[in-house]
Subunit: 206 residues, 2 copies
Amino acid sequence: MTTSEVPDIVIGRLPIYLRALTLLHEEGHEFTSSQELGQKLGIGSAQIRKDLSFFGEFGKQGTGYEIKYLHDQISKILKVNRDWAVALIGFGALGQAVTNYGGFATKGFYIEAIFDSDPNKIGKTIEGRVIQDIANLVEVITRQKIKVAIIATPVQVAQQVADQLIAVGVQAILNYAPITLTVPSNIQVQYIDPVVHLQRMTYYLT
Amino acid sequence: MTTSEVPDIVIGRLPIYLRALTLLHEEGHEFTSSQELGQKLGIGSAQIRKDLSFFGEFGKQGTGYEIKYLHDQISKILKVNRDWAVALIGFGALGQAVTNYGGFATKGFYIEAIFDSDPNKIGKTIEGRVIQDIANLVEVITRQKIKVAIIATPVQVAQQVADQLIAVGVQAILNYAPITLTVPSNIQVQYIDPVVHLQRMTYYLT
DNA sequence: TAGATTGTTAATCGATTAACAATC
DNA sequence: TAGATTGTTAATCGATTAACAATC
């Protein structure tokens, strides 16, 4: 959440739009409208038009949006029209699942460095990448100029790992550890904690 | 997002509060304040007090909140002071990671039924649970009266799986498939798509 | 042209926050 | 008592939405 022209909540919806556009494209559609998109996403059509208007004019009156064009434009806005090198810290069950998940690479996020502290894991090769000693984190990430990291460590070390990452220039952290990280305001952090999502839903259950 | 007395955004913060309280408790603290909590979570203290005020009075002027008590109260509010049976649909790499993840059970979410469509997987036993044919989903979930489900299927079948789940009484869905599900307004859905989180952050990168 | 849909404005709605009396 | 912190009010801030002129 950085001070910015465009509200962060709008930025947060763009990947959702992108995902829907990808799906429509795969289904062979060529055009869509703010109404159709909104229906699919459970969002008002006005909101979609307003969100897009922060960045330019992407549609045509009467016909709507060309799906491929809008997809490319949003990709550019989000800077996902290129590849990003990602560091993964923690190669436990979760870190291994993250590594094996094909969805990152197909979207341009390549895990190019993996770290763990377990001597039994350090040195092993996983799909061409050697698991490195977390003691070398500072050196390796500095050298490779990696800007994006995924934390999949135990919760006890997550904050100190984050501190190290930030110290060597990482600007965006996807944190799987169940803890809110304390970071400077210019650092991006996103959280994945499935338990949080489940707990949010049980409130509504009868 | 159901029509409700308490704003859904407030409900969404309660699990975060719970997580912080758990941590403080584990660190041996006995009391905390809205200020301390807010600092740890990057949230204003007034917001925390306001959020809690929707449900009652849990603190004491001058001393703040007893951590264990507040934790228990929020647990009750969220209905996570009991166990929940969970169905898992899809036993690919992701579904397997979800099954092996210990974090669900320790928070009271027990995966009590696993479904897949692959004949090579159906019938196998995983930690005491047999992988069942997705063709039996309707029967099994109806019989076991399961209310919470996790979708970890390929994106192509996620919507139809969701439709089936809802038809047999599932009220809360945690969806790992990269698609926005269309569901009735009384059904809770939460999404986990790490790519969405990463794409949201790259916008801010230089 | 007639119909459809955009981009944008202004109104509405809702969430956050500052301030403070109450009180432990 | 003095200091600290709550719960709550009212003001501020920001996001959503309805409406419509413009135009494809």
